[in-house]
Amino acid sequence: MSSRPELQAPPEIFYNDEEARKYTSSSRIIEIQAQLSERAMELLALPDDGVPRLLLDIGCGSGLSGETLSENGHQWIGLDISQSMLNIALEREVEGDLMLADMGQGLGFRPGVIDGAISISAVQWLCNADKSSHDPRLRLKAFFGSLYRCLARGARAVLQVYPENLAQRELILGFAMRSGFAGGVVVDYPHSTKKRKEYLVLTCGPPSLSAATPQGKGEQEESCSADEGSGDEENQTVCISDRHRPRKKQKITKKGKGREWVMKKKEQMRRKGNVVPPDTKYTARKRKARF
Protein backbone atom coordinates (compact mmCIF):
# COMPACT_ATOMS: atom_id res chain seq x y z
CA MET A 1 0.00 0.00 0.00
CA SER A 2 1.13 3.50 -0.70
CA SER A 3 2.65 5.53 2.10
CA ARG A 4 0.73 8.61 1.04
CA PRO A 5 -2.37 8.97 3.23
CA GLU A 6 -4.12 10.81 0.41
CA LEU A 7 -4.23 7.60 -1.62
CA GLN A 8 -5.63 5.42 1.14
CA ALA A 9 -8.97 6.95 2.07
CA PRO A 10 -10.85 10.25 2.12
CA PRO A 11 -9.66 12.54 4.94
CA GLU A 12 -12.80 12.21 7.06
CA ILE A 13 -12.30 8.44 7.03
CA PHE A 14 -8.50 8.25 7.11
CA TYR A 15 -8.30 10.44 10.21
CA ASN A 16 -10.38 8.11 12.39
CA ASP A 17 -10.13 7.82 16.16
CA GLU A 18 -7.06 5.62 15.94
CA GLU A 19 -5.15 7.89 13.55
CA ALA A 20 -6.22 10.97 15.51
CA ARG A 21 -4.91 9.43 18.73
CA LYS A 22 -1.41 9.49 17.24
CA TYR A 23 -1.56 13.25 17.30
CA THR A 24 -1.56 13.28 21.09
CA SER A 25 0.61 10.26 21.77
CA SER A 26 3.41 10.49 19.21
CA SER A 27 6.02 13.00 20.24
CA ARG A 28 7.54 12.80 16.77
CA ILE A 29 4.33 13.92 15.05
CA ILE A 30 3.85 16.66 17.63
CA GLU A 31 7.38 17.94 17.11
CA ILE A 32 7.10 17.97 13.32
CA GLN A 33 3.74 19.74 13.44
CA ALA A 34 5.10 22.35 15.83
CA GLN A 35 8.12 22.97 13.60
CA LEU A 36 5.98 23.30 10.49
CA SER A 37 3.59 25.73 12.11
CA GLU A 38 6.39 27.82 13.57
CA ARG A 39 7.95 28.13 10.15
CA ALA A 40 4.53 28.99 8.69
CA MET A 41 4.12 31.71 11.32
CA GLU A 42 7.52 33.07 10.33
CA LEU A 43 6.55 33.15 6.65
CA LEU A 44 3.22 34.78 7.50
CA ALA A 45 5.28 37.83 8.54
CA LEU A 46 2.61 39.54 10.60
CA PRO A 47 3.52 43.06 11.70
CA ASP A 48 5.49 42.92 14.91
CA ASP A 49 3.36 45.29 16.99
CA GLY A 50 2.06 42.89 19.62
CA VAL A 51 -1.58 43.27 18.53
CA PRO A 52 -3.34 39.89 18.38
CA ARG A 53 -4.78 39.10 14.95
CA LEU A 54 -7.62 36.92 13.81
CA LEU A 55 -6.10 34.00 11.92
CA LEU A 56 -7.47 30.99 10.15
CA ASP A 57 -6.10 27.47 10.50
CA ILE A 58 -7.25 25.39 7.56
CA GLY A 59 -7.14 21.69 8.33
CA CYS A 60 -6.41 22.39 11.98
CA GLY A 61 -6.81 18.74 12.97
CA SER A 62 -6.06 18.21 16.62
CA GLY A 63 -5.08 21.85 17.05
CA LEU A 64 -1.32 21.34 17.22
CA SER A 65 -0.71 24.14 14.74
CA GLY A 66 -3.28 26.31 16.49
CA GLU A 67 -1.30 26.01 19.70
CA THR A 68 1.59 27.76 17.99
CA LEU A 69 -0.78 30.57 17.00
CA SER A 70 -2.05 30.83 20.58
CA GLU A 71 1.52 30.92 21.87
CA ASN A 72 2.12 33.92 19.65
CA GLY A 73 -0.91 35.55 21.23
CA HIS A 74 -3.29 35.40 18.26
CA GLN A 75 -6.96 34.48 18.11
CA TRP A 76 -7.75 31.77 15.60
CA ILE A 77 -10.54 29.83 13.99
CA GLY A 78 -9.73 26.29 12.92
CA LEU A 79 -11.61 24.12 10.51
CA ASP A 80 -11.22 20.46 9.71
CA ILE A 81 -13.23 17.75 8.00
CA SER A 82 -12.48 15.00 10.51
CA GLN A 83 -14.70 14.80 13.59
CA SER A 84 -12.21 12.50 15.32
CA MET A 85 -9.42 15.03 14.98
CA LEU A 86 -11.64 17.81 16.31
CA ASN A 87 -12.55 15.62 19.30
CA ILE A 88 -8.84 15.36 20.08
CA ALA A 89 -8.60 19.14 19.78
CA LEU A 90 -11.44 19.45 22.32
CA GLU A 91 -9.58 17.10 24.64
CA ARG A 92 -6.46 19.23 24.34
CA GLU A 93 -8.56 22.27 25.25
CA VAL A 94 -7.23 24.47 22.46
CA GLU A 95 -7.95 28.17 22.71
CA GLY A 96 -9.27 28.77 19.21
CA ASP A 97 -12.73 28.07 17.86
CA LEU A 98 -13.27 24.86 15.92
CA MET A 99 -15.51 24.12 12.97
CA LEU A 100 -16.37 20.97 11.11
CA ALA A 101 -16.14 22.04 7.48
CA ASP A 102 -14.82 20.97 4.09
CA MET A 103 -12.42 23.46 2.55
CA GLY A 104 -13.31 22.14 -0.91
CA GLN A 105 -16.82 23.50 -0.45
CA GLY A 106 -15.45 26.98 0.10
CA LEU A 107 -14.93 28.82 3.36
CA GLY A 108 -18.08 30.51 4.61
CA PHE A 109 -16.64 33.72 5.96
CA ARG A 110 -17.57 37.33 5.42
CA PRO A 111 -15.28 39.18 3.00
CA GLY A 112 -12.09 40.79 4.23
CA VAL A 113 -12.28 39.86 7.91
CA ILE A 114 -9.37 37.45 8.35
CA ASP A 115 -5.85 38.82 8.98
CA GLY A 116 -3.97 35.73 7.83
CA ALA A 117 -4.28 32.03 7.23
CA ILE A 118 -2.06 29.01 7.74
CA SER A 119 -2.56 25.44 6.71
CA ILE A 120 -0.31 22.53 7.59
CA SER A 121 -0.27 19.50 5.28
CA ALA A 122 -3.87 19.84 4.16
CA VAL A 123 -4.31 21.43 0.75
CA GLN A 124 -2.97 18.47 -1.25
CA TRP A 125 -6.08 16.54 -0.16
CA LEU A 126 -8.07 18.75 -2.52
CA CYS A 127 -6.36 17.13 -5.50
CA ASN A 128 -8.18 13.86 -4.79
CA ALA A 129 -11.66 13.02 -5.95
CA ASP A 130 -13.01 10.87 -3.14
CA LYS A 131 -16.66 11.00 -4.13
CA SER A 132 -18.35 10.93 -7.50
CA SER A 133 -19.46 14.51 -6.93
CA HIS A 134 -15.90 15.71 -6.32
CA ASP A 135 -14.03 17.53 -9.06
CA PRO A 136 -10.56 18.56 -7.84
CA ARG A 137 -10.53 21.59 -10.11
CA LEU A 138 -13.85 22.90 -8.85
CA ARG A 139 -12.86 22.22 -5.26
CA LEU A 140 -9.51 24.00 -5.61
CA LYS A 141 -11.27 26.91 -7.27
CA ALA A 142 -13.89 27.11 -4.52
CA PHE A 143 -11.22 26.93 -1.84
CA PHE A 144 -8.83 29.56 -3.20
CA GLY A 145 -11.67 31.82 -4.32
CA SER A 146 -13.29 31.86 -0.89
CA LEU A 147 -9.91 32.17 0.83
CA TYR A 148 -9.09 35.21 -1.28
CA ARG A 149 -12.44 36.81 -0.45
CA CYS A 150 -12.26 36.36 3.29
CA LEU A 151 -8.68 37.62 3.68
CA ALA A 152 -8.10 41.29 4.36
CA ARG A 153 -6.19 43.28 1.75
CA GLY A 154 -2.47 42.64 2.00
CA ALA A 155 -2.98 39.64 4.28
CA ARG A 156 -0.96 36.50 3.69
CA ALA A 157 -1.81 32.85 3.56
CA VAL A 158 0.92 30.27 4.16
CA LEU A 159 -0.05 26.78 3.10
CA GLN A 160 2.38 23.94 3.74
CA VAL A 161 1.69 21.21 1.18
CA TYR A 162 2.97 17.80 0.17
CA PRO A 163 2.22 17.70 -3.57
CA GLU A 164 2.54 14.22 -5.01
CA ASN A 165 4.26 15.32 -8.20
CA LEU A 166 5.03 18.29 -10.38
CA ALA A 167 1.60 18.30 -11.98
CA GLN A 168 -0.12 18.56 -8.61
CA ARG A 169 2.12 21.41 -7.54
CA GLU A 170 1.35 23.29 -10.72
CA LEU A 171 -2.35 22.59 -10.37
CA ILE A 172 -2.49 23.98 -6.83
CA LEU A 173 -0.34 26.99 -7.60
CA GLY A 174 -2.25 27.65 -10.82
CA PHE A 175 -5.58 27.88 -9.06
CA ALA A 176 -4.10 30.08 -6.36
CA MET A 177 -2.83 32.52 -8.99
CA ARG A 178 -6.10 32.44 -10.90
CA SER A 179 -7.98 33.43 -7.77
CA GLY A 180 -5.91 36.61 -7.64
CA PHE A 181 -3.19 35.71 -5.17
CA ALA A 182 0.37 36.87 -5.65
CA GLY A 183 3.27 34.83 -4.34
CA GLY A 184 4.89 31.51 -4.95
CA VAL A 185 6.40 28.41 -3.45
CA VAL A 186 9.09 28.49 -0.77
CA VAL A 187 11.04 25.25 -0.53
CA ASP A 188 12.96 24.51 2.64
CA TYR A 189 15.87 22.08 2.33
CA PRO A 190 15.32 21.36 -1.38
CA HIS A 191 18.18 18.84 -1.52
CA SER A 192 16.95 16.58 1.23
CA THR A 193 14.27 14.01 0.55
CA LYS A 194 12.97 13.85 4.11
CA LYS A 195 13.45 17.37 5.39
CA ARG A 196 12.21 19.01 2.21
CA LYS A 197 9.08 21.07 2.94
CA GLU A 198 7.10 23.22 0.57
CA TYR A 199 5.16 26.29 1.55
CA LEU A 200 2.80 28.21 -0.68
CA VAL A 201 3.18 31.81 0.38
CA LEU A 202 0.25 33.77 -1.02
CA THR A 203 -0.44 37.45 -0.66
CA CYS A 204 -3.89 38.89 -1.10
CA GLY A 205 -3.98 41.86 -3.43
CA PRO A 206 -1.81 43.17 -6.24
CA PRO A 207 1.87 42.23 -6.30
CA SER A 208 4.04 44.66 -4.44
CA LEU A 209 7.44 44.79 -2.80
CA SER A 210 6.12 43.13 0.32
CA ALA A 211 4.70 40.31 -1.77
CA ALA A 212 8.16 39.04 -2.71
CA THR A 213 8.46 35.38 -1.79
CA PRO A 214 10.89 34.76 1.05
CA GLN A 215 13.97 32.56 0.77
CA GLY A 216 13.75 28.89 1.63
CA LYS A 217 15.96 27.38 4.30
CA GLY A 218 19.01 25.38 3.30
CA GLU A 219 18.92 26.63 -0.26
CA GLN A 220 22.26 28.39 -0.20
CA GLU A 221 24.17 25.28 0.80
CA GLU A 222 26.33 23.68 -1.88
CA SER A 223 24.36 20.99 -3.57
CA CYS A 224 27.44 18.91 -4.28
CA SER A 225 29.17 18.29 -0.98
CA ALA A 226 30.53 14.89 -1.93
CA ASP A 227 30.49 13.17 1.44
CA GLU A 228 26.77 13.76 2.07
CA GLY A 229 25.23 11.63 -0.69
CA SER A 230 22.01 10.29 0.87
CA GLY A 231 19.59 9.97 -2.02
CA ASP A 232 19.90 8.96 -5.65
CA GLU A 233 18.76 12.39 -6.77
CA GLU A 234 21.61 13.96 -4.88
CA ASN A 235 24.28 11.69 -6.33
CA GLN A 236 23.16 12.72 -9.76
CA THR A 237 23.71 16.37 -9.06
CA VAL A 238 27.13 15.56 -7.66
CA CYS A 239 28.27 13.93 -10.91
CA ILE A 240 27.11 16.77 -13.09
CA SER A 241 28.42 19.59 -10.96
CA ASP A 242 31.78 17.87 -10.49
CA ARG A 243 32.48 18.17 -14.18
CA HIS A 244 32.12 21.93 -14.13
CA ARG A 245 33.86 22.56 -10.88
CA PRO A 246 36.68 25.08 -11.25
CA ARG A 247 40.24 23.82 -10.73
CA LYS A 248 40.96 26.10 -7.82
CA LYS A 249 38.18 24.64 -5.71
CA GLN A 250 39.56 21.14 -6.10
CA LYS A 251 42.89 22.21 -4.68
CA ILE A 252 41.28 23.43 -1.51
CA THR A 253 39.53 20.14 -0.92
CA LYS A 254 42.75 18.21 -1.65
CA LYS A 255 44.30 19.57 1.51
CA GLY A 256 43.26 16.47 3.38
CA LYS A 257 40.95 15.87 6.27
CA GLY A 258 43.47 15.83 9.09
CA ARG A 259 44.39 13.36 11.81
CA GLU A 260 41.24 13.96 13.81
CA TRP A 261 39.00 12.98 10.91
CA VAL A 262 41.00 9.84 10.20
CA MET A 263 40.86 8.79 13.86
CA LYS A 264 37.11 9.30 13.88
CA LYS A 265 36.64 7.18 10.77
CA LYS A 266 38.88 4.42 12.15
CA GLU A 267 36.89 4.39 15.36
CA GLN A 268 33.70 4.11 13.34
CA MET A 269 35.08 1.20 11.35
CA ARG A 270 36.20 -0.55 14.53
CA ARG A 271 32.71 -0.25 15.98
CA LYS A 272 31.38 -1.86 12.84
CA GLY A 273 33.72 -4.79 13.47
CA ASN A 274 36.08 -4.20 10.53
CA VAL A 275 39.79 -4.91 10.71
CA VAL A 276 41.52 -1.57 11.20
CA PRO A 277 45.29 -1.01 11.48
CA PRO A 278 46.37 0.14 14.97
CA ASP A 279 46.79 3.87 15.69
CA THR A 280 50.46 4.89 15.62
CA LYS A 281 52.43 8.10 15.28
CA TYR A 282 52.33 7.52 11.51
CA THR A 283 48.54 7.57 11.35
CA ALA A 284 47.26 10.20 8.92
CA ARG A 285 50.75 11.38 8.04
CA LYS A 286 51.52 12.25 4.45
CA ARG A 287 54.12 10.38 2.46
CA LYS A 288 57.12 12.33 1.39
CA ALA A 289 57.11 13.42 -2.21
CA ARG A 290 60.16 11.39 -3.22
CA PHE A 291 58.54 8.10 -2.27
Binding site: V51, P52, L54, I77, L86, L100, A101, D102, R110
Partner: protein, 122 residues
Amino acid sequence: MRLLTHNMLSSNIKGVANGFPLRIEVEKVVEKQVDFNADFLKNMFAKIEWKALVDASRSMGYSELPGDANPSMLDSDDFLQKFHHALLELHLEEGALVCPETGRKFPVNKGIPNMLLHEDEV
Protein backbone atom coordinates in the same frame (compact mmCIF):
# COMPACT_ATOMS: atom_id res chain seq x y z
CA MET B 1 -18.08 28.54 19.37
CA ARG B 2 -17.58 32.16 20.31
CA LEU B 3 -19.55 35.07 18.95
CA LEU B 4 -16.34 36.26 17.29
CA THR B 5 -16.56 33.28 14.98
CA HIS B 6 -20.30 33.67 14.58
CA ASN B 7 -19.78 37.25 13.47
CA MET B 8 -17.40 36.12 10.73
CA LEU B 9 -19.41 33.14 9.53
CA SER B 10 -21.92 33.31 6.76
CA SER B 11 -23.96 30.63 5.09
CA ASN B 12 -22.07 29.05 2.21
CA ILE B 13 -24.94 27.32 0.43
CA LYS B 14 -25.02 27.64 -3.33
CA GLY B 15 -27.42 30.33 -4.52
CA VAL B 16 -27.68 32.11 -1.17
CA ALA B 17 -27.04 35.80 -1.77
CA ASN B 18 -27.01 37.02 1.80
CA GLY B 19 -26.14 34.29 4.27
CA PHE B 20 -25.28 36.67 7.09
CA PRO B 21 -25.99 36.70 9.99
CA LEU B 22 -26.78 33.13 10.87
CA ARG B 23 -29.57 32.96 13.43
CA ILE B 24 -28.64 31.23 16.66
CA GLU B 25 -30.77 28.56 18.27
CA VAL B 26 -29.56 28.14 21.81
CA GLU B 27 -29.67 24.98 23.85
CA LYS B 28 -26.70 25.51 26.09
CA VAL B 29 -24.34 28.43 26.64
CA VAL B 30 -21.11 28.28 28.63
CA GLU B 31 -18.83 31.09 29.73
CA LYS B 32 -15.06 30.74 29.69
CA GLN B 33 -12.61 33.26 31.09
CA VAL B 34 -10.32 34.79 28.48
CA ASP B 35 -7.50 37.30 29.02
CA PHE B 36 -8.59 40.82 28.26
CA ASN B 37 -6.69 42.54 25.44
CA ALA B 38 -7.79 46.05 24.54
CA ASP B 39 -5.59 46.23 21.41
CA PHE B 40 -7.27 43.22 19.88
CA LEU B 41 -10.74 44.61 20.57
CA LYS B 42 -9.88 47.99 19.05
CA ASN B 43 -8.44 46.24 16.04
CA MET B 44 -11.44 43.97 15.63
CA PHE B 45 -14.08 46.65 16.15
CA ALA B 46 -13.92 47.86 12.55
CA LYS B 47 -14.50 44.34 11.27
CA ILE B 48 -17.41 43.44 13.53
CA GLU B 49 -20.96 43.76 12.27
CA TRP B 50 -22.27 45.42 15.38
CA LYS B 51 -25.95 44.71 14.91
CA ALA B 52 -25.31 41.02 14.33
CA LEU B 53 -23.19 40.88 17.49
CA VAL B 54 -25.86 42.60 19.59
CA ASP B 55 -28.60 40.30 18.29
CA ALA B 56 -26.44 37.23 18.78
CA SER B 57 -25.48 38.18 22.34
CA ARG B 58 -29.14 38.86 23.19
CA SER B 59 -30.16 35.45 21.89
CA MET B 60 -27.46 33.98 24.13
CA GLY B 61 -28.98 35.80 27.10
CA TYR B 62 -26.53 38.69 27.43
CA SER B 63 -28.19 42.06 26.91
CA GLU B 64 -25.61 44.54 28.25
CA LEU B 65 -24.33 45.66 24.84
CA PRO B 66 -25.63 49.02 23.58
CA GLY B 67 -27.71 48.87 20.41
CA ASP B 68 -25.46 51.36 18.64
CA ALA B 69 -21.72 51.68 18.80
CA ASN B 70 -19.16 54.04 17.31
CA PRO B 71 -15.37 54.08 17.48
CA SER B 72 -15.36 56.87 20.11
CA MET B 73 -16.82 54.42 22.62
CA LEU B 74 -13.65 52.34 22.45
CA ASP B 75 -12.03 54.67 24.99
CA SER B 76 -14.46 53.61 27.65
CA ASP B 77 -13.16 50.75 29.73
CA ASP B 78 -16.65 49.72 30.73
CA PHE B 79 -17.69 49.35 27.09
CA LEU B 80 -14.57 47.38 26.23
CA GLN B 81 -15.20 44.95 29.07
CA LYS B 82 -18.74 44.27 27.82
CA PHE B 83 -17.50 43.97 24.24
CA HIS B 84 -14.81 41.54 25.38
CA HIS B 85 -17.29 39.43 27.32
CA ALA B 86 -19.75 39.19 24.43
CA LEU B 87 -17.15 38.58 21.76
CA LEU B 88 -14.78 36.12 23.40
CA GLU B 89 -16.25 34.67 26.59
CA LEU B 90 -19.72 33.52 25.57
CA HIS B 91 -19.60 30.09 23.97
CA LEU B 92 -22.46 28.39 22.19
CA GLU B 93 -21.99 24.82 23.40
CA GLU B 94 -25.11 23.11 22.08
CA GLY B 95 -27.65 24.40 19.61
CA ALA B 96 -27.81 25.27 15.95
CA LEU B 97 -27.03 27.98 13.42
CA VAL B 98 -29.80 28.72 10.95
CA CYS B 99 -29.27 30.11 7.47
CA PRO B 100 -31.35 33.32 7.23
CA GLU B 101 -32.37 32.68 3.64
CA THR B 102 -33.00 28.96 3.30
CA GLY B 103 -33.65 28.03 6.93
CA ARG B 104 -31.07 25.22 6.71
CA LYS B 105 -29.85 24.23 10.17
CA PHE B 106 -26.18 23.73 10.98
CA PRO B 107 -26.07 21.80 14.26
CA VAL B 108 -23.59 22.80 16.98
CA ASN B 109 -22.31 19.94 19.12
CA LYS B 110 -19.79 20.30 21.94
CA GLY B 111 -19.11 23.84 20.71
CA ILE B 112 -18.25 22.70 17.17
CA PRO B 113 -20.61 23.85 14.41
CA ASN B 114 -21.05 21.35 11.62
CA MET B 115 -20.79 23.45 8.46
CA LEU B 116 -20.53 20.50 6.05
CA LEU B 117 -22.84 20.97 3.08
CA HIS B 118 -24.82 18.28 1.32
CA GLU B 119 -23.86 17.50 -2.25
CA ASP B 120 -26.78 19.44 -3.71
CA GLU B 121 -25.86 22.57 -1.74
CA VAL B 122 -22.36 22.99 -3.18
